[in-house]
C-alpha cells in the first residue's frame, strides 16, 4: 500500500519503485481444469501482496501469468500502463525467485547474480560492482567465488533474491521461495525479504500456501480458491472479518460449532449472539468461532481432553456433551485448573458470530 522511503544500504541499490500491476479477467484452463477463472486483481505500486490458498487454487498460475510463463486464455496483465500480456518473459523486466533452487550450477555466486546484466550487455566492471553490491545487501559478499552447491538452502535462496534484484526489475515475483527451507531459516529469511522489499519499495507478489508467512509479510493478502479470489484484504481484516467461510477456516484456527439460526441471531453453546455478515435462512447452521473468542469456566458438562502450553497462551481442547471438540485459547496464568478430565463450560464472547451452512 504505502511505500516506505528507501533508506540505508538499499538506497544505493537502484530499483524501480512503485509500479502498479493489474490483472484483468485472467483466465487459464489446463484441459478440463480451470486454473484461473476470470481473476481480477489490483496491486498497488510498492505493495507486497501475498497470494494464499491451498494447492491447485491457481495462485502459482497467476504468478506465472504475471511473469509470462503462462499465456492466459483470456484477460490482460498490465504493468503500469503497459499491457504485457503477449510480451515474452525475457522482455518483461521482472525478477523472480523460484521454489526449487534455481541457481545456475556451472556459475559462481557472483556470476549468477550478474547473469541478468551480462544478458543486457553491461561491461565487466559494472557487473562485478553490482554483484558485490547486491551480495552485500543479502549478507553473502564473502561467498561470491563459491558455487551454488557449496551453499546452504537459505543462502542459495538469498543469492536467487540478489540475482532477481540485480537487474532492478519493475516487479519482484516470489514463488514459494521459503517452502524448501527449515523452519528457523524460513522465519529469518521472510523478515529479511520484507525488510529489503520495504527498503527498495519494489512491487512484489508473493505466492505461498503458508498462512503464517502470508499474514506476517504482506501488506495485503489475496486468498484464492478454484481460480478465483475469495477476499483481498490486510492481514488483520482477513483474520478479524473474513468475507467467506472458506477464508475464515483457511486463515488461522477455526472451531466449527453446531448452532441454530432464528430471528436474525444465532444460538450456540446455550447462548444467543448476533450473526456476522449475511445470514442464510433459518435452521441448523455451523458457527465459526476462533479459539480466542471462547471462554472456559469451571464446572459443567464439557471435559478437557488435552492442554498445549505455548508460552503466554495455553490451548485447551474441550469435548462438549454432544461430542463436538473445540479449541479454546486461555492465558497460561489462568490455566492451572484446566487439566485433562476437568469439568468445564465453554461460552462464546459477546461478539457477532460468522456462520456457515451445515455440510451434508
Amino acid at each position: 500500500m504505502t511505500t516506505a522511503p528507501a533508506t540505508g544500504r538499499a538506497q544505493a541499490v537502484s530499483a524501480q519503485p512503485g509500479v502498479a500491476v493489474r490483472l484483468e479477467n485472467l483466465t487459464r484452463r489446463f484441459g478440463d481444469v480451470v486454473a484461473l477463472d476470470g481473476l481480477d486483481l489490483d496491486i498497488a505500486g510498492g505493495e507486497l501482496l501475498a497470494l494464499l490458498g491451498p494447492s491447485g487454487c491457481g495462485k502459482t498460475t497467476a504468478l506465472r501469468a504475471i511473469a509470462g510463463f503462462e499465456r492466459p486464455d483470456a484477460g490482460r496483465v498490465l504493468v503500469g500502463d503497459r499491457d504485457v500480456t503477449s510480451v515474452p518473459p525475457s522482455k518483461r523486466d521482472m525478477g523472480m525467485v523460484f521454489q526449487a533452487y534455481s541457481l545456475f550450477p556451472n556459475m559462481t555466486v557472483a556470476d549468477n547474480v550478474a547473469y541478468g546484466l551480462r544478458v543486457r550487455g553491461r561491461g565487466k566492471p559494472e557487473r562485478a560492482a553490482r554483484a558485490t553490491e547486491l551480495l552485500e545487501l543479502v549478507g553473502l559478499a564473502d561467498r561470491a567465488k563459491r558455487y551454488p552447491h557449496q551453499l546452504s538452502g537459505g543462502q542459495q535462496q538469498r543469492v536467487a533474491l540478489a540475482r532477481a534484484l540485480a537487474v532492478a526489475p519493475q516487479v519482484l515475483l516470489l514463488d514459494e521461495p521459503l517452502s524448501a527451507l527449515d523452519a528457523q531459516v524460513r522465519v529469518q529469511l521472510r523478515e529479511e525479504i520484507r525488510r529489503l522489499q520495504l527498503e527498495l519499495g519494489i512491487t512484489t507478489v508473493f505466492v505461498t500456501h503458508d498462512q503464517a508467512e502470508a499474514l506476517s509479510m504482506a501488506d495485503r493478502v489475496g486468498v484464492m480458491r478454484a481460480g478465483r479470489l475469495e477476499q483481498v484484504a490486510s492481514p488483520d481484516e482477513l483474520y478479524e472479518r473474513p468475507a467467506t467461510a472458506f477464508v475464515a477456516e483457511f486463515v488461522g484456527t477455526m472451531n466449527r460449532v453446531p448452532a441454530t439460526l432464528s430471528g436474525g441471531a444465532v444460538e450456540l453453546l446455550g447462548v444467543r449472539r448476533p450473526v456476522a455478515g449475511a445470514a442464510p435462512a433459518t435452521g441448523p447452521v455451523v458457527a465459526l468461532v476462533r479459539p480466542e473468542a471462547l471462554v472456559v469456566t469451571d464446572g459443567g458438562a464439557g471435559r478437557v481432553v488435552t492442554r498445549t502450553f505455548s508460552g503466554a497462551v495455553t490451548r485447551v481442547l474441550v469435548a462438549l456433551p454432544d461430542g463436538t471438540e473445540v479449541r479454546v485459547d486461555v492465558a497460561s496464568a489462568d490455566s492451572a485448573a484446566l487439566v485433562p478430565g476437568a469439568a468445564v463450560t465453554v461460552t462464546p464472547v459477546e461478539r457477532p458470530v460468522l456462520v456457515a451452512p451445515v455440510e451434508p
Binding site: 510463463f69 515474452p88 525475457s90 533452487y101 545456475f104 556451472n106 541478468g116 544478458v119 543486457r120 557449496q150
Partner: protein, 294 residues
C-alpha cells in the same frame, strides 16, 4: 554371475556355521573364476594383435618397425584425416539436432518423450546393411532423375569422395540411439525447467539460454554423447565400404591384404588412441568438477 554365486552361497547359510564358511570360500573361488574367465575373454583378443605386431618373425626378437611405418604408410593420413573430419561433423550435426530436441521434449512436449525415444531406437532395430542398401539405391537413382537441377547437384555434392557428406548423414542416424540416451540421462536430473525459466526471466533469449545454461549443465552428457559418436564413426566399416568411400576402417581392411602386420598395428594404435581420448575427456570433466567443488 557373481550375484548368482552369492545366492548359492547364501542358500548354504541355513546350515550351521561351518558350512557357511565353506560356502563363502566357494563364493570366493567362484568370483576369482569369473574374474579370470572375463579377463581372458577381453585380454586374449587384445594381446594377440599386439603380440602379432611386435614379434619379428625372421629374427625371433621384438620389433617396433610396423608401428614406425604407420605415419608414412600410403593413404593413412588421408583416410584417418577424413574419418576424423567425418566424426567431428557428425558430432556437431547430431548434437545440433538432438540437444534442442531433447530440451524441447523435456520442457514443452513431455508427451512426445516415448515417441522420440522409439524413433531414436529405430537405427538399432533396422540393420545398417538395410539402411545402406536403401541409401545406395537413392544415390544411384536420384542424380540421373534430378540431373541439372539443384537437387541433382546436391546429390553429387553429397558423394564427393574427398569428404562424403552422405556418410555424415547416415552416421547421424546410426548415432541417434547412443546420443539420445546419453543426453536424456543428463536432462532428467538437471532440473532444466526451473533453470531455463530463471534465465528467461533474467532476460536471456532462447539461443542464449541453450548456450549459457543448458549446454554447461549438460556438459558431461554432451561429452559422453560426443565421444560415443566419434568412436562409432572412427570404427564404422559397413556403410563406408558398401557406398565405396575410403575411410580409416576401410583403409585398414584394404592394407590388411598386403601388409597384415601394418594393418593390425594401426588397429591397435586406433584402439589406444580411442582409449586415450576417453580417459582425457573424463579427466577433463573431473578436473572441472574438482575446481567447482574446491
Amino acid at each position: 554371475m557373481t550375484a548368482l554365486a552369492e545366492g548359492v552361497a547364501g542358500a548354504g547359510s541355513v546350515a550351521p556355521p561351518t558350512p557357511v564358511r565353506a560356502g563363502r570360500r566357494r563364493g570366493g573361488a567362484w568370483r576369482i573364476t569369473v574374474l579370470v574367465v572375463v579377463g581372458l575373454y577381453f585380454l586374449i583378443p587384445l594381446a594377440a594383435p599386439i603380440w602379432f605386431t611386435v614379434r619379428d618373425r625372421g629374427a625371433g626378437a621384438f620389433t617396433g618397425r610396423y608401428y614406425a611405418q604407420i605415419p608414412g604408410a600410403a593413404g593413412f593420413a588421408e583416410a584417418f584425416g577424413r574419418s576424423l573430419a567425418l566424426g567431428l561433423l557428425t558430432v556437431v550435426l547430431v548434437l545440433a539436432l538432438m540437444v534442442p530436441t531433447i530440451v524441447l521434449v523435456e520442457l514443452r512436449l513431455p508427451r512426445l518423450r516415448t515417441a522420440v525415444e522409439l524413433l531414436t531406437l529405430a537405427p538399432l532395430v533396422v540393420p545398417p546393411i538395410a539402411l545402406v542398401v536403401g541409401v545406395r539405391s537413392v544415390l544411384s537413382w536420384a542424380p540421373d532423375h534430378f540431373y541439372g537441377t539443384p537437387v541433382g547437384d546436391a546429390m553429387f555434392a553429397l558423394q564427393e569422395p574427398a569428404l562424403p557428406w552422405i556418410l555424415v548423414l547416415v552416421y547421424v542416424v546410426l548415432a541417434l540411439p547412443f546420443v539420445y540416451r546419453a543426453l536424456d540421462a543428463g536432462v532428467r536430473n538437471a532440473g532444466l525447467a526451473t533453470l531455463t525459466e530463471a534465465a528467461r526471466n533474467l532476460g536471456a533469449s532462447w539461443p542464449r539460454v541453450l548456450l549459457t545454461v543448458v549446454l554447461p549443465v549438460l556438459r558431461t552428457s554432451v561429452l559422453n554423447a560426443s565421444f560415443l559418436t566419434l568412436a562409432l564413426v572412427l570404427g564404422e566399416y559397413t556403410v563406408a565400404a558398401i557406398l565405396g568411400f575410403q575411410t580409416f576402417p576401410t583403409w585398414i581392411v584394404q592394407v590388411g591384404g598386403s601388409q597384415p602386420q601394418l594393418s593390425v598395428a594401426v588397429s591397435v594404435l586406433s584402439l589406444v588412441v580411442t582409449w586415450a581420448l576417453l580417459l582425457l575427456i573424463s579427466a577433463l570433466d573431473r578436473r572441472r568438477r574438482n575446481e567447482e567443488t574446491s
